[in-house]
Amino acid sequence: MKQQHLQLDHNKRLRHFLTTEGLKRDLLVEILDTAESFTSITNQQIKKVPLLRGKTVVNLFFEASTRTRTTFELAAKRLSADVLNINVSASAASKGETLLDTLRNLEAMHCDMFVVRHPNSGAAHFIAEHCAPHISVLNAGDGRHAHPTQAMIDMFTIRRHKHEFHNLSVAIVGDILHSRVARSQIHALSTLGVPDIRVIGPRTLIPADASTLGVHVYNDLDQGLDGVDVIIMLRLQRERMSSALLPSEHEYFRLYGLTKEKLALAKADVIVMHPGPINRGVEMDSAVADGEHSVILQQVSHGISIRMAVMSMTMSPKGTSQSERDA
């Protein structure tokens, strides 16, 4: 409950975006609708709108990232904000500065938004709890916990292709255990009303509590893919694996890699997604990654619109109510 309160202001408007867990369906749909409006900006000669002019967004990355950081940066720039990119692992933290001191310094520079990626679960919440009241915090991935903007990108991509959520079967395949993306996706899918959410992977890579999330667990890829509308492949997160959870990548591909043959088990109009970066030949065959069912590059484009939506929603002045907006 604490997380939900932290994310919303007293009028139940988005204040920080830390997790998809516990957010109401209306709010998730509002994020998708707002993102839809931002897609028209790519048709402009000048691909910028003046919404966040004069605001400063800080990309505070304690963990490496290319796609997420660049699309957050591009989103902020298309909203006319100024952007600072801070790679913390390479700077102050290594000189012994605490997280709170780093925050206080950035606040003293009059920044307005922190986009935080951190290897520890809960880091974005911690920052949201301790930052100055005018600052909004967006979680760009914390440990194994959540990656809410990536989940909303995937919801946006699904809605664009399938239009509705209430009649879908969605399979999430691979390393569920280490995946903050999967966790955020499962919460969003279930809030948006997807009746059949499946997680598919080896026992060692499925969290023990998976079934409590309201998903169907499959250890066999063929069974799991039967008749699905959407397949979300996850990256094998070697860097987060502390022990030998897998025999080999080759063995993993043989059992859980997505090939044309496996894809034929799903519905004829199935879409294939992957949050990136892809390990070709480990999670999926190149023929599938580049094939007609793949919407992986669309996900990247949608990333900019979703991040623009969340940035402009959280940067809306705190505490304005619906009636004030209508006036």
């Binding site: 408007r13 509002e30 609708d33 707002t34 839809e36 409006s37 931002f38 897609t39 028209s40 900006i41 048709n43 402009q44 000669q45 000048i46 910028k48 709108v49 003046p50 919404l51 402009s312 929603m313 940067m315 809306s316 002045p317 304005t320 619906q322 004030e324 907006r325 006036a327």
Partner: protein
Amino acid sequence: MVLEAPNILLASMASQLQERIDSKQINNPAMVGIHTGGVWVASALHQLLAIKEPLGTLDISFYRDDFSRIGISPEVKPSKLPFSIDDRHIILVDDVLYTGRTIRAALNELFDYGRPASITLATLIVRSGRELPISADVTGTQLSLDSTQQIKLKGPEPLSFEIVELTDS
């Protein structure tokens, strides 16, 4: 106050616009309506003038000057301009011209799409209360209203409007 029926106003606007197009020898103009009421008025005019280019629509939410006070509207819609703006004669249509701030935002948005040859502003109703140096080229009717009064437009078919008193709540 007796208000004329919107279809009479629309017919008058269409003939004023046609006159303007003829006298200025404007070739192949394009029409753009501002969400939501302006799009209703524009679709009626678009039909009356038999304009070849499909109707463009603008949602100026991203260009408003009061984001820092009221934030982003949850009902924002995508803008759709299905033609090139560059060197085009544009007829910009809105329902009511009041403070002029919506038109300021619309002009800024249009210029992010290209450099038009000209922009003509047509509004169904022009009311008192301008805060910016903006005026309409073509108007259905002019109303002198107090700041406590608001024009409520209903549409798209049939188009109707009424004057309501704003109450302090």
